[in-house]
């Protein structure tokens, strides 16, 4: 075991795959000399050269589309969309093209590519640089959707995404990049579609994604002090979703909180609730509580931002609420 930041773990997975296979290359805005707006791709240009580490124009449609074409020709492109908010520009290509070519061709084609993007509130980026839009992609058959929360997970899952033969939309989170944690000495692929129990507990399950995993862990510790034993589960892959893994935990605890940073309304948590209330109806002793951003664009001023974005306290409140129910 060694220690890596989330940022380094992403970089390592990219670099390792580029070392392993000529088909892997990366393109995106400012990823070359500058090393990406989040510093994730620093050093890759030096090691792999400008042919495989490609700065692009600000053309979110064309770069995803070019990734699709290259993927169809046997490459494994990684396309970076600098902020999730700008994925709104690429959706035609992702949803109508990448997700559907295999299907529409009756299985003749495959589109092995990764679309990496990141977002996240908590540093006053304003309304157009902080949205969490993973739910949209989960609605689209033909895509896989990954959203890891730890250095070890992001490393192993990104590797698997790069070598998956399908288009994968890979969500990172701005506030996770500096987080450091232990990772395996050598990169170990983590299969897509498997949830991870991050903390075991018996009274309530918190299903959390991205930064909310860490906020949930904080909440869990505080709840512990109240004598509430909290299990924290991270689905990690949102599509395919490890329904069994989630159901199993809830069948054990009989109570559940779902937490993400995205807006609650129509967020990923809604799907989790819908699945669980169907598959674990008789096991639920209380309504599943959802924790997510309040229904508002993200305001700039920190006080307003904090109010909207869910923190550990929100998760704790939800835990208490669900446990309070007789």
């Amino acid at each position: 075991m060694k220690t890596m930041s989330y940022r380094e773990a992403v970089r390592d997975a990219i670099a390792e795959s580029m070392r392993a296979s000529d088909e892997v290359f990366i393109m995106g805005e400012d990823i070359a000399e500058m090393g990406g707006s989040m510093g994730v791709t620093q050093g890759l240009l030096d090691e792999f050269g400008a042919t495989r580490v490609r700065n692009t124009p600000i053309s979110e449609m064309a770069i995803v589309g070019a990734g699709i074409g290259a993927a169809m020709q046997g490459m494994r492109p990684i396309v970076e969309i600098m902020y999730e908010d700008f994925i709104t520009l690429s959706l035609e290509q992702i949803v109508n093209q990448a997700a559907k070519h295999r299907f529409m061709s009756g299985g003749q084609l495959k589109v092995p590519m990764v679309i990496r993007t990141q977002g996240g509130a908590g540093w006053s980026p304003g309304a157009q640089h902080a949205q969490q839009l993973e739910a949209w992609l989960v609605h689209v058959p033909g895509l896989k959707v990954v959203f890891p929360s730890t250095p070890a997970d992001v490393r192993g899952l990104l590797w698997s995404s790069i070598y998956d033969d399908n288009p994968v939309v890979f969500f990172e989170h701005r506030l996770l990049y500096p987080i450091k944690d232990e990772v395996p000495e050598k990169l170990e692929p983590i299969p897509l579609g498997k949830a991870r129990v991050i903390r075991e507990g018996t009274d309530v399950t918190v299903i959390a994604t991205g930064p909310l995993v860490h906020r949930a862990l904080k909440a869990a510790e505080e709840a512990e002090a109240d004598g509430i034993s909290v299990e924290v589960v991270d689905p990690r892959t949102l599509q395919p979703l490890d329904e069994d893994g989630l159901v199993e935990s809830v069948k054990k605890t009989n109570r559940c909180v779902v937490a993400h940073e995205a807006v609650t309304r129509m967020g990923f948590g809604a799907e989790v609730v819908a699945v669980l209330q169907e598959k674990a109806f008789d096991y639920l002793d209380a309504p599943i509580q959802r924790v997510g951003a309040k229904f508002a664009p993200l305001a700039f001023a920190p006080a307003m931002e904090q109010f909207v974005v869910p923190g550990p306290q929100d998760v704790l409140d939800a835990i208490r609420k669900t446990v309070a129910k007789a």
Binding site: T51, T56, G65, G69, Q97
Partner: protein, 323 residues
Amino acid sequence: MSKTEKKRILTEDRLREFLREMLLIRRFEEKVEERFRAGELPGFLHVAIGQEAVAVGVCAAMADGDVFGSTHRAHGHTLARGTHPNAVMAELYGKMEGCSHGYGGSMHLYDVERGNLGANAVVGGGIPAMVGAGLAFSMRDEPRVAIAFFGDGATNTGTFHESLNLAQLWKTRTVFVCENNTWAESTPGWQHSPVWDDMSKRAVAFDMHSIKVNGQDVEEVFEKATEALEIARSGVGPVFLDVETFRMHGHYIGDPQVYRAKEDRDEAAERDPIVRLREILQVTSEEWAALEAEVKEIVDVSVEFAKNGTDPQPEDALKNIYA
């Protein structure tokens, strides 16, 4: 210089072959219109009657290993590139023997073996993939070219402009074939583009090499497409083919064309690329009749083939989603 005097780089045999292919596409599409009106074909379809010379000329210029992406108006490109009429017709009938195994339909014809990476029902949607395919060829230094077909209407999509910029910037092995038939559905060129009779300007904006092509003259299409493909294949950069052509029928089958003046339709009909080539080759009535009979047979067989094809099982709908 009259057309017949022009120096010929193609043998007469080759030209006769082109004539046959164009006629096959024409009769195929007429049959499709007929079968659609008879209620036999699901969905909605677009024929490219009047534009056959573009499909035949460009596809003949392609080499093995070249790939292309097409549009909602894809029957001609697909047939011209060698997909069997049976497979195309079967697709239109939604059969497993279809070139997309019944998953695609008219607007999603694929034949990956022959380089057909898919017709696209989103205007402009298929263009950037051809930049990416051409990029892959460049990166691996393969002498292959990716060809994007699209219409004048598509040149108003942001996707188109981003794609041209990227292709020229990266010198991808891509050829852009703009089939300017002066209509985007019911919208005439002058209603959708300030410069609608010279699409090359949109390529020149990115310093892309552009070649003007009379799309009703299959010989010229072939020559210029050959030139374009050579340039792109060499790796010096992509090429834009600014092809002027005519849509002789409606936008979709059944389109009453209320928006179109009769003169415009008549003009289009006068520029029929098949009539033109037939005259140039001075095909006799007997030869013509034989050709018609040959083509008719192929088309009729394709309909029979399609009708006898296998319907997918309902549950097949859940296959082929993930690799």
